[in-house]
Amino acid sequence: MISLTPLDLVLAATLLVALATVSYLSQLGIHKQLLVASVRTTVQLLLVGVVLRALFATSHIGWVALVGLVMLVVAGREVLARQRRGLAGLWGFSVGALSMFVSSFSVAVFALLLVIDAAPWYQPQYAIPLLGMLLGNTMNGVALGMGRLTEASHQERGTIEGRLLLGQTRVEATSHLRLDAIRTGMVPIMNAMAAAGIVSLPGMMTGQILAGSPPVEAIKYQILIMFLIASGTGFGVVVSVGLTARRLFDERERLRLDRLR
């Protein structure tokens, strides 16, 4: 494995500086964002490196759980921030976080216990990256699905209430919207699976290969990750869209758009 020196990273950074210069000279207006984002990436990843090194050294389940929890909270906030009209109050955060917890954590535990079979099963070297990848992708799907449902409910109030007026239940009256929201949430991972290997080489596999793993080993892991991500995202989206749709109605099956932000 060829180790990277700080100088190597500086060399890569000159490309970004060049891009920022072009942006500045031609007034594209992205140079500031670009520099901030680059600095954020560097600082955040270095910090994570420190955390991971400490975590790998202790290998205590409590610390692994704590890191997992912090990741979940941040992902929950991100889900909320990405929706234009989320559920108001604590619900927006809770529904997103709960669905990610249910899907990402259970899929991660499933994979750690039954597939990877490390000893102990929560060994942070496996648990944290796996959970990170699951949460990152589930977060994407959940935010898309919930955002789609709340937005569509707002726009299609007349249709939903029209269906209620025909004596349909809240489940029937939102069936077309829920389906659409679930599909929307699943689009990124479906596309990624369809294009994997042909159009794009997935990042995780690429990283492993660059770091010196035999390609077939890297690919086996990539397939595992794809399956886990797809199922985690799927369950997460289904749960979050279901809970959001439930929250949009009160006990008398009335559409309550006042429960949106």
Binding site: E156, G158, T159, I160, E161, G162, R163, L164, L165, L166, G167, Q168, T169, H176, D250, R252, E253, R254, L255
Partner: protein, 196 residues
Amino acid sequence: MSRIIATGLCFRQWGPIDLDVGPGECVAVMGPSGAGKTLLLRALVDLDPHEGDVRLNDIPCDETPPHQWRRWVGMLPAESAWWADTVGEHVAPDVDFGGYGFVPDVRSWEVSRLSTGEKQRLALARLLSRKPRCLLLDEPTASLDPDSVERIEKLLEAYRLEHDAPVLWVSHDRAQASRVASRVLTFDNGQLEESR
């Protein structure tokens, strides 16, 4: 034979309202726009939160599952809702549109190509096919041509007489109100009053 009775009905800042529409009776509700006539219907059909007691044949709204209540108390909204591409996808397979002046082929028609009048007649057919015991109509003939207006009035009258259904008809057209209804009420400032 049905009767809908509201006692002390309050919604938003309006009310309390008492209302009693008996079997086969048609009551028109008029009033300035923005007075809350639509909200009155929405409260009766339990689509908006409200206080007070609403009963159909002595069965309280609160004790009926909401979708069941809305099947009994059929409300025709001012703008009908269509969520699928063709007309047929919106109704049960055995619904007959013949009585509403449509050819059997109407099921395959695209919703996006219907005229306002056709839409309203189909919406009415769809609602009546579910055999509601009571009808709440929110300006059912607004923006329709005189032919369509007459047709819809006739269809509604036939249904009302056949099923002895109470009908509450919100209209802004005084001539229509006195034509279709035996009583005309005015809803203004949150109060429902008998018109002179």
